[in-house]
Every structure is written in C-alpha cells, then in structure tokens.
C-alpha cells in the first residue's frame, strides 16, 4: 500500500506537540501537496525533501504525493518536519520498511544535499517523544540535548542517507559515542564578586537576595557598580537542580540560544533587556505563534532591568503578572500558551534623569519635580514585590584601594548562600514554596510567628512613620533569610534589625 506514516514534533510555547506525518502516493501527474495548516517553512519542505532525497542517491517517486499533517487543525510551523516528510515519502514509495516508521518520532531540518541540520527545541521534542513511548531520531548536533531525557531511545543522524540506512537495518546504531555532559564552559564565563571593590552593604544585600530568592532594587548614581553587582548574582546563586535545569535548557533551546552540542544549563541564566525593549520582546507573544519573551529566558534565573524607570510603562506593568504567578499566559484564538517565567528581578535605577543626584563630584541639574516623576514611574505594585532595596553610595578611596581587607570571591559567598538555601528548604519541606521570597506573608505569620520582643525594632520603625503594615511583613520575611544566612533557628532581634536596614532608605524607595 503506497501509504506510510511516521511522527514528528512541533514546539508550541515551550511544549512539544506530536504531529503525525502521513505520505500517500497515488497515480497521477508528479506533484506534491502538503496539507494540514502548514506555514511557508513547512510548505517549502516539499522542495528541500525532494532535493535531499535525490542527492542522497534515492529515487524520488514521480507520482502524485500527498503529505498529511495531523492534527489537521493545528498550525504547523518551522523546518523540523522536513526529515519526517522525506522519510514518510520514501516509506510510501516502498524504499523503507513501513513498520520501522510507525513508532518513530523524527525531527530535523534537511539541507539540499541531504544533510540533517539542527533544530530548535530538541529537548522539548524529546520530552514529547518520551511521553508517548516512542524512540526519537534527532540531528546529530542535537544529540547531547535529546539524550538528557531519561528512558528515551535517541538516534542521532547526520544525513538522510544515514537515517535511511538505519531504517533499512544496514547500520545498527546512529548514535555518536558521546555521552551527555554538563556544560563545562559556563563555570568560567560568569564574572566574579571579587572584581567589585567596596560596596560592602550592597554585597550583603545581594547575598540576601540570592539566599532568599528575593527581588532586589539598586538605586544609585551611574558608575557606582549597580550593573557590576547585578551581573554577579548568577555566580552566587545555587546551581540549578535537575528539573529546573531541564526546564531552563528546554527554553533556551527553543529560543535558539543553546550552543551546538551544549548539554544541560546548570547555572541560573542572566537576562538583561535594553530599556527600549517592547512588551512582546520582554514577556513574549508577538504576532502569529506566541514567541518566548525575555522573562521566559530568565526562568529560574535573573532578569536585570538596568535604568528601570526608562522602560516603557507597559513593559513594567506587564512584569507584574509573571512576578505573581511565575508564568505568562498568551492567548490566541482557539488556544492558550503557557510560558514559564519564574525569575528573580533585579532593578537598577539612577536617582534622577541625569543620574547625578547625591553625587559628590557634580551637581544634579534636575528639578525636584523631575526627580520625583522619574522614580514614580516604577509603580507601587511592582516595587511592592521587591524585598531588598539598596541605596548605593560612591565608595571611598580607601574602599576602592581595598584596604578594608581581602574581598570575598563568588565561590565563598555562594557557599554561604547554598547553606542558607539548605536551611530554608528544610523548613519549607512539604510546602509549595522553595525560597523565602515565595512564601506569602500571611502564611509566614501563621506558621512561624515571631515573639514580640524580636520584632519590636521593626514595629517601632513603622510606628514612627517609616513604612506600612505590608512593609513590616516584608521585613519579617527578609529577617528569615538573614537568619538562614546566619545559621539561626529563627530570626533574632538583630536579624530583624538587619532586615530593616535593607529596606529603609530615603524617599520613595523606603518601605
């Protein structure tokens, strides 16, 4: 029977969706039709597949070929279906045993010479194949990625001829003899905290943020080290755990940001959008099929907004939802796409438009109204979610010269952070939260109430008009992280005062 069936995967959002690829050859004039809501890239598979088959030394059937992609109502996009289409046609032409195809998921883009080119999102595709219990054929350069999925047979092919040989049983295995590895290149690529001189208070704030997963804001004149500090946050965050690492790797693979042959991403990603970025670029969406935004790339990592007040109001507002729910839901007619976006936010801002307010070396030209308006762009609901608020001042010359002692490196701080995380994880065991920052303040008060004498200093600060009730709750939450870092069972009065210091500053940025 001139009909063959195989499977492939397309990626929608961050999930792989299985697509059945059928090829039928009927008598008629040579022609090829691809049906099933294919976009231009899929329709072009017709020409790529034909050239690749001929250049691989196989005969292209000069008949009427119909390729059906189902589910037919789903929009198919991209070039990852190429290989499956070529294989289905060859199967229908009787060139490959059909039974070998049925339980196989095939992904790969074809070059005209029959080479199999890498695809984006191989990890998500492999996960989809595993879910239906099928073996998967991937381009050789995606092997590392697909092989990260346990309980899955992965065949890697470099060209169409290789896959044809594999299916005919001529070649026993197509897998290269490499094993998936953790990416070794990442360790050296993250800048180290020892580069930052001075800013002792800010370094501690950063450590707190890392230990508790708190969002953090930094206010200070330009050139003071805000960016320097923010860039070093991933270096002191704990390495990504198994599940998180797979999620992050899958997202980065779909976005095409994974280097060829790169394995699991084990370090928290650091994403710094420019302040001219659009809403769609930051949170995802866009026209046509929803695309991943930068917040999704920052999933399980750090999203750094430098010059935060310069961002469009709509972009800042759009961040509120992912900050709340840890995901973005993009709605299109007929379907919703959920994009993961659980990130740690780092905001940096100059104190005024010219950036010189509070500076010792130059005089700020901004009017007080301008200054107020500048910071007011960061709306209350956004600032509300930020637990650690740092005011950075210019370091003294002594600090710059490093007289105050040896500067700690990232590895030293990371060790303390890991220990603190370990303590908080033990406390939160069996609960739906992983870090202190995720615990709602109401739950915090209910489950772990603190004695009155411990929180006295904080309450006093709020009584004297230095903050709101909500701010008080936030201080208590931060105090838990201070306690975790210090190795205390629960926050002491000093821990609460330390936490208070991290939140009270001047003007709007105070709690």
């Amino acid at each position: 029977m001139p009909l063959a069936r195989t499977r492939s995967v397309i990626v929608i959002g961050v999930a792989g969706q299985l697509v059945e690829v059928e090829a039928d050859i009927s008598p008629g004039l040579p022609a090829m039709a691809i049906v099933g809501l294919a976009d231009t890239a899929v329709a072009e598979a017709r020409d790529r597949a034909r050239a690749a088959v001929v250049n691989s030394g196989e005969d292209w059937p000069n008949r009427r070929i119909t390729v059906g992609l189902s589910p037919a109502s789903l929009h198919k996009h991209g070039s990852a279906l190429d290989l499956a289409i070529a294989i289905a046609v060859l199967g229908a032409a009787g060139k490959i045993p059909i039974d070998a195809l049925a339980d196989l998921v095939v992904v790969g883009e074809l070059g005209l010479d029959g080479r199999v080119r890498p695809v984006r999102g191989a990890l998500a595709m492999a996960l989809a194949a595993r879910d239906v219990g099928c073996a998967i054929v991937v381009p050789a350069s995606n092997y590392q990625e697909a092989a990260l999925v346990p309980d899955l047979v992965v065949h890697a092919v470099a060209n169409l001829a290789g896959l044809v040989g594999l299916l005919r049983g001529e070649i026993l295995t197509g897998a290269p003899d490499t094993t998936p590895t953790l990416t070794p290149s990442e360790a050296g690529s993250v800048p180290d905290l020892s580069d930052v001189r001075g800013q002792v208070a800010a370094r501690f704030g950063l450590e707190l943020a890392a230990a508790g997963g708190h969002h953090i804001s930094m206010l200070g004149p330009p050139g003071i080290g805000k960016t320097l500090l923010a860039e070093r946050l991933p270096g002191i965050l704990p390495a990504l755990s198994g599940e998180a690492a797979v999620e992050v790797t899958a997202v980065h693979s779909i976005a095409g940001r994974l280097a060829e042959g790169q394995g699991l991403i084990s370090r928290a990603p650091f994403i710094a959008p420019h302040h001219t970025a659009s809403v769609a670029a930051v949170v995802g969406g866009g026209s046509g099929l929803p695309k991943l935004g930068l917040v999704s790339l920052a999933h399980h990592g750090v999203l750094f907004l430098d010059e935060a007040p310069e961002f469009a109001q709509s972009v800042l507002d759009a961040l509120r939802l992912p900050l709340e729910s840890g995901e973005i839901v993009v709605s299109r007619s007929g379907f919703n796409v959920r994009l993961p976006a659980r990130f740690q936010l780092v905001l940096a801002a100059n104190p005024c438009p010219c950036g010189l307010a509070g500076s010792m070396v130059a005089i700020c030209q901004c009017s007080s109204l301008q200054r107020r308006r500048y910071l007011a762009r960061l709306s209350g609901p956004l600032l509300d979610r930020i637990d650690v608020r740092l005011q950075l001042a210019a370091p003294t010359l002594a600090e710059l010269r490093g007289i105050e002692g040896t500067v700690e490196s990232s590895s030293v701080v990371a060790a303390r952070v890991a220990l603190a995380r370990h303590r908080s994880e033990r406390r939160l065991q069996g609960l739906p939260w992983r870090t202190n920052a995720e615990v709602p303040t109401t739950e915090l008060r209910k489950r772990w109430p603190l004695p009155a004498d411990v929180v006295a200093s904080a309450e006093e600060a709020f009584e004297t008009g230095h903050g709101s009730a909500r701010g008080l709750d936030r201080v208590v939450r931060l105090a838990w992280t201070v306690a975790d870092l210090a190795g205390h069972q629960s926050p002491t009065a000093l821990d609460v005062e330390t936490a208070l210091l991290q939140r009270t500053g001047r003007g709007r940025w105070a709690a």
């Binding site: 008598p27 008629g28 004039l29 040579p30 000069n62």
Partner: protein, 117 residues
C-alpha cells in the same frame, strides 16, 4: 530539432498502440486548433479520453510526466471543450490521461497515467 520531433512522433505511435491494446477506440490524432494540439482522442468505453503524450530520451530534465504542469492541464481542459464543440460526439464523461514514455537503453518505458486532472 528534427531528432526531437522524430522522438515525439515515435512516442505518439507507441502511445496509440498502448491505448488500442488496452481496448480504447481511437477517434482522432494530432487534432489542432488555435489554442493548441491534442495528441490523441479516444473512447474508453463511454468515457472520452483526451490523451497527452510526453516522450523523453533521458531524465536530465526530469521525468516526462513531470513536464505536464498545471498550465498544460488547464490548456488540455480548454482543448477538450474545443474538440467537443467541433465534433458530433456524445459522451458521459471526459478524462484527461497522460502517457509518459522514456526512451533510454532497452525497451521504452511506457507509463499510462489515468485521469490526471
């Protein structure tokens, strides 16, 4: 050019023999009008068959059948109508066939594509 035309005529001869051998009743050959030419008109039972013959001596320019594209098919449709208009023939059904002939070493390969458009 003459060689090409000779190949074409040889192909048409082969095609006619094929159709006759299959029991078709031949009506017309190389019928021309302003819009073009029909290679063979024949009856297959009660079906009027408009037959286009494509002959090639090699595959360098693709298979012979692949040379019949949408435009050519559309032309054959128009020609069929024109032929019917000028002949007093009644038929229940009209069909367009392509006979693709590849003349390489050994016996020519004849492929009869039934009902292509």
């Amino acid at each position: 050019m003459a060689q090409k035309d000779a190949l074409g005529r040889y192909g048409e001869e082969l095609a006619v023999r094929t159709l006759v051998a299959a029991g078709y009743q031949l009506l017309d050959r190389n019928w021309r009008c302003r819009q073009g030419e029909i290679d063979i008109v024949a009856f297959d039972g009660h079906t009027l068959v408009i037959c286009e013959v494509k002959t090639r001596s090699g595959l360098a320019f693709g298979s012979p059948a692949a040379a019949v594209d949408k435009r050519k098919l559309a032309r054959l449709h128009r020609l069929a109508a024109a032929w019917l208009a000028t002949h007093d023939v009644r038929c229940i059904e009209i069909r367009i066939d392509v006979i693709a002939i590849l003349c390489r070493r050994g016996a020519p390969q004849i492929e009869h594509l039934v009902g292509v458009g």
